[in-house]
């Protein structure tokens, strides 16, 4: 999939919220790409834009193209888009407790997608659904098919969601914070499961999360989003060991680590996320950036290659800051 210059704006009482403002990136077949950022950075909206689930009149995809299997998704008719949703591109959401319809059985909801996209009869669909449940390691799938969502825990429901997402063998699975609502142990299980399933089937995964730890264990590539734009992207290991953008560096610095001295105060990126109605001029991160210079307040930095195997960073000083060497204390003095 190739996304170019995607812009999605929302019209509210207070003004136009530029939730996604010029986002471009690619996802290769089978690639596991992580999308990281704070709340309000635009990561969920990007996903919803890909699926074209943004509801007018409040929200609108203003411009951009999304190339997928030879077609521009943003130009498709709604009918054609419906055929892609669930079948070629599937999406699973954050809160498993509320993402399943409480008045229909699990089987009903699974079979619904299967019958719709794979054009099989009820009997076959049931079998496929049971297999899907087996794939996500739910015990006794045949019984589960006739049960209702409220009878299951969050972890189980999320497995059902994953089963639903993968049931029609999509080429791309978008997972919007799939483990945020779960406890840590279940989190690990679910991520392992997703890793295995994606690897087995060669499904590309776009994993949206704010949890860097989850990303580290799962993704090949990572992109960091801030205030509606991508500020850095690259291979996962490179990004974590050698961040080129001050924001990424700040995020990594704010994580607690086992190997760090525990007498230091936990660093957080100072300030608050900016207004998306009236974003700061120039680089959107400049009010909070420890290294901001005048140019940062004037010109918006495009993503530029900072070496390192295709790592891109949206900073005027990307290659000049040797961030990994600076400790927190030094940075605030420079």
């Amino acid at each position: 999939m190739s996304i170019k210059d995607l812009r999605t704006y929302f019209t509210t009482e207070e003004g136009v919220v530029r939730a996604v403002d010029g986002v471009s990136f690619d996802i290769a077949p089978g690639e596991r790409r992580g999308v990281v950022g704070e709340s309000g950075s635009g990561k969920s909206v990007t996903a919803m834009s890909i699926m074209r689930l943004i509801e007018p009149p409040a929200g609108e995809i203003v411009t951009g193209t999304i190339e997928f299997q030879g077609e521009n998704l943003l130009a498709l008719r709604e009918d054609d888009m419906q055929e892609i949703r669930g079948a070629k591109i599937a999406m699973i959401f954050q809160d498993p407790m509320t993402s399943l319809n409480p008045v229909y059985t699990i089987g009903d909801q699974l079979m619904e997608t299967i019958m719709l996209h794979q054009h099989v009869n009820k009997h076959d669909a049931r079998k496929i659904a049971a297999d899907a449940l087996g794939d996500v390691q739910i015990p006794e799938p045949m019984t589960v098919l006739d049960d209702y969502p409220h009878q299951f825990s969050g972890g189980m429901r999320q497995r059902v969601m994953i089963a639903m997402g993968l049931s029609c063998n999509p080429d791309l699975l978008i997972a919007d914070e799939p483990t945020t609502a779960l406890d840590v142990t279940t989190q690990a299980q679910i991520m392992d499961l997703m890793l295995k399933l994606a690897a087995d089937r060669g499904t590309a995964v776009m994993l949206i999360t704010h949890d860097l730890g989850v990303v580290a264990g799962f993704c090949d590539t990572v992109q960091v989003m801030y205030a509606g734009g991508i500020v850095e992207s690259g291979k996962a290991q490179n990004l974590f060991s050698d961040p080129q953008h001050p924001y990424t560096w700040g995020l990594l610095g704010s994580m607690t680590r086992l190997d760090e001295s525990h007498t230091e105060r936990l660093h957080s990126v100072r300030g608050a996320p900016p207004s998306l109605i009236n974003p700061p001029r120039g680089c959107r991160f400049n009010p909070r950036c420890d290294f901001a210079k005048d140019i940062c307040r004037e010109t918006y930095p495009a993503l530029r290659d900072s070496g390192n195997d295709g790592q891109l960073a949206a900073c005027h000083f990307a290659t000049e800051l040797d961030l990994k060497l600076l400790t927190i204390g030094e940075a605030s003095r420079s």
């Binding site: 699926m51 689930l53 709604e78 009918d79 419906q82 055929e83 892609i84 949703r85 669930g86 079948a87 599937a90 999406m91 959401f93 809160d95 509320t98 993402s99 399943l100 319809n101 409480p102 008045v103 229909y104 059985t105 619904e112 997608t113 719709l116 996209h117 006739d146 209702y148 409220h150 969601m161 639903m164």
Partner: protein, 401 residues
């Protein structure tokens, strides 16, 4: 589920008992005198003494209560005979009872098909129970069964209380049921449409009108429609479209079927609408809120993400969830409809239980008053239980209680 129903029935019984005690004591405490008017006249002393003796008015209060209670639940007459005439013989009831029975059987049928019970015995059970229910309903509707409890005689000299009440019950059923159906048929789609077209002109106007209707006492609405659509309409246009008094024309029995239908409609429309209007306002607001909540729900988002066509998404996923709370709302509203009926019947001269009640209250005809209060109370208890069952059918989360 079964034990839950039993529990609710027991609580209902306790409530009814408490209700009867409270009302009875209040009547006694007020020196409750059906004989008060007679007492004003000194020459009536002998009659007063006789009636006091006859009606047991000189016994201690609690004894009077228990006597009343015992009589209230004792059957007086059970036989199969030309019962239909005796039981429902009074004005225009004949049509209502069979309709209610058929509706009840129909509701049960719908319910059983909507419920998703995965047990193996379900299908045969459903088949048998449906046969049973329909058989009973049709038999009862056509039966000539006579049954009555010894509710005593009216203090106004009007005859047996049971007969009066059940004679009037059909009229009230007709009015109340029509009002309820109107309210549901108009209110629910209105609310749904308002939610789909949120913030549109239609939505805003609808919301404001709902507020106004909700803030207007029902007697104003009743009197208003009476004046506007009947009296003044006639005065200004000479067209006598709706009737404002009574339930049917004196010549009803002699009219053709079509003319009868027309007569029913012309009498029924204004009072039923008056009652329904407030309910329409309530239901549409509620349905709008419920629909909006569903429309912004996560599971709807999931359904769309699966690629389901929009129509299917709304019809299958949204609607059922949005309709569930209405059941609770209606069960709470039944009391309101009954209250509305009481007032509307007085204004429109509708020969129902409400009007009977007002007449009885005025004269402190306490057997009738007690009987009516108890009947209404019992009706509400039953309706609430039915609503609970319906809720369980629609929402699987509640079933395994």
């Amino acid at each position: 589920m079964g034990s839950y129903i039993i529990r609710r029935l027991v609580y209902g019984l306790v409530t009814l008992l408490a209700l009867s005690l409270v009302v009875f004591l209040l009547i006694q405490a007020s020196g409750g005198g059906p004989l008060d008017r007679l007492k004003l006249n000194p020459r009536m002393r002998g009659v007063i003494a006789q009636l006091t003796e006859e009606w047991g008015l000189d016994k201690p209060v609690m004894q009077q209560y228990f006597t009343w209670l015992k009589n209230f639940v004792t059957p007086a007459d059970v036989r199969a005979a030309d019962g239909l005439t005796v039981l429902f013989g009074k004005i225009g009831i004949r049509g209502s009872m069979p309709i209610i029975l058929i509706l009840g059987a129909g509701a049960y049928t719908v319910g059983t098909f909507l419920a998703k019970v995965a047990k193996p015995w379900w299908r045969p059970f459903r088949a048998f129970s449906l046969v049973f229910v329909w058989f009973t309903a049709i038999w009862l509707a056509k039966s000539r069964l006579v049954f009555s409890l010894s509710w005593g005689d009216s203090f106004r000299g009007d005859g047996p209380v049971w007969d009066n009440i059940f004679g009037a019950a059909g009229a009230t059923f007709r009015l109340g049921l029509t009002a309820l159906i109107l309210a549901l048929l108009i209110g629910i789609p209105l609310g749904i449409y308002q939610a789909i077209r949120q913030y549109s002109f239609f939505d805003q106007v609808g919301t404001t009108l709902s507020f106004v209707a909700f803030s207007t006492p029902i007697f104003i609405i009743a009197v208003g429609t009476q004046l506007l659509f009947a009296l003044y309409l006639e005065k200004w246009t000479g067209v006598k479209l709706f009737f404002v008094a009574g339930m049917s024309d004196p010549s009803y029995a002699s009219l053709s079927f079509l003319a009868r239908m027309g007569d029913v409609a012309r009498h029924l429309t204004l009072p039923a609408l008056s009652i329904a209007l407030i309910s329409i306002a309530t239901y549409s607001r509620f349905q709008r809120a419920s629909m909006l909540e569903v429309m912004h729900s996560d599971y709807l988002r999931t359904a769309k993400a699966k690629g389901l066509p929009r129509r299917r998404v709304i019809l299958k996923h949204a609607l059922r969830n949005a309709l569930i709370p209405i059941v609770t709302l209606v069960s709470l509203d039944i009391a309101g409809i009954i209250g509305g009926a009481i007032i509307t019947e007085s204004i429109f001269g509708w020969p129902g239980v409400g009007r009977l009640y007002i007449q009885a209250i005025d004269a402190v005809d306490y057997p009738t008053v007690m009987a009516v209060v108890m009947s209404i109370g019992a009706g509400i208890v039953v309706m609430n239980i039915v609503a609970d069952i319906l809720y369980g059918v629609l929402d699987p989360r509640v079933r395994y209680d």
